[in-house]
Amino acid sequence: MTSVPEPPAPPFAAVEELASGGPVAVGAAVPSGIPGRAKTELIQRILAYAALTVISLLFFVPFLWSLSTSFKPLPETANFSLLPNTWTIAGYRSALTDYNFGRYLANSAILAGSVTLTSVFMSALGGYAFARLRFPGRNILFFLVLGTLMIPDQLRLVPIYRMLTIFPVTHWNLVDTYQGYWAIRMVSATALFLMRQYFLTIPRDLEEAAKLDGAGYFKTFWRVMLPLAGPALAAIAILEFQGTWNDFFWGNLLLQSAQHWTIQVGLAQFSFQYQTLWNSLMAGTMIALAPVVLVYLFFQRYFVAGVASAGVKG
């Protein structure tokens, strides 16, 4: 067994180009002497801008409207003024203090932080081994890793819930604990796969040099390969952070008591009870969105690379 079938993904090069916002001119014309071309292009441009305006409204209005509401005092949420007449952070204050969003925020930070940390480290270590080290059964094990990508979370719901209620052998009850949540997410096959692919692209010369200097395997990995994998590590850190921060499915299933709720679970629970406290609900929503927005603004190009393999949420 020499090659392992890999899951289908759209061409990476193209996606990377999209990410960098590089030149993409397919369909848009190259200037040429074809008669009627100028007019055709003009029509095309006008259509594009008209569509763009409508779509932009569709995409921006919900977020901006919610943002505006989060700064309104409660009585004002009943009218339809675009901006608050009186700007206030009362919605944020009550969400954070009266309705415990501070605690949910801390829980989310702890869980997303620890999951990201272990996932990046473990996937780099495993990805390096699968890319470079030779050991019997390597291809079979890697095939197993890819196989896990086909097991949907929805199938795992019942067995994982049961396993965490009474953990095999040790009989721990890990439901409603940080540890249980962290354990099932501490490394992801997608991250490991992406790291392996990245390490395969790094030339071997540098490792050989390290080996000649007498560096051991871990030292070579830690001192030589890891620093070279910066972009891949960043992309995976972002992918894992965003995935864990946004997770509702597992948090809602496993973190049952209010003191353990993540921001997403807390936000949903708040909407169950106080649906008409619109300013606080929207403030909580903005708080839940903020970290991902910030990371997205600063590291946009790393996001798209992950899309190809991460698939789509429900």
Binding site: V26, L52, A129, R134, T148, I151, Q154, V292
Partner: protein, 301 residues
Amino acid sequence: MAVAVPRSRFRRRRRPGAAREALVGYGFVLVPMGVFVLFFIYPMVYAIYISRYDWGILGPLGNVGWKNYSTLWHDTLFRRAVKNTLEYTIWVVPAQMALGLLLAVVVNQRIRFRTFFRGAFYFPSLASSAAITAIALYLLNINGLFNHIFGLHVAWFFDTRTALPAITGLNAWTTSGTMMLFYLAALQAIPTEVYEAAAIDGAGPWRTFWKVTFPLLKPGHFFVAVVSIIGAMKVFDQNYIVSRGTGGPDYATYSVVLYIFNTAIHDAKLGLAAAAGVVLFVVIFLFTIAQWVFFGRQEAA
């Protein structure tokens, strides 16, 4: 004619340090493999095992063979969940594809701030389902902005006729950015010469799109459709949040995954829930295989 080959050529020669390298390799993959086996592969087998038991909250009550599967078949609630999920899928998949393609075509034009718009249209795909659903609850409430703009008076998520369509629209909107990226990649795989040829033939932009671009996007359509179908069958978060976990009003938003969740957590019928999970997995798996076969053939061609 026999060729004399020295035996040693056939014997596996050991590289110096191979044993050590193998040991280190196992060490490096030990924790990830442990996690994958314990929390992915074992649960898959365990799910099938549980699905063959009458299983309460305290543990297995007895092996019932495939009875849980026949119970599912006759369960009106499960049937309702399947019907809702199919109905949702039938509407949301074309909507996601159409929106994704529209976005891709628009941001593939030579327009100003192209990178910005691409980033902006992709953003809802990155926002959490809970946040997006909270925004939808706000905009679509009976006194909300949507009703205000269109002069309507509909409680979208609380009316049996509109709850599921509202979720469909919401998710089509949310996911369209991801579909846009897939379509952009597919659009860029079309060679420029094709458009030049169409222009020489005097085809306008409309005709060029429908007669040239659209058919050439076939692999893209297929990829997006399968991704979209698989995503649609897993629908849960939005249904759970708008209905407070009930799948209401009157089971209008009860999806298959919501059935699995409620059967396992609230009714403590783990065997039945696991059986529903296995059924869902088999259906998703068939679509995954279809995709592998299709793209395997594409690559071979």
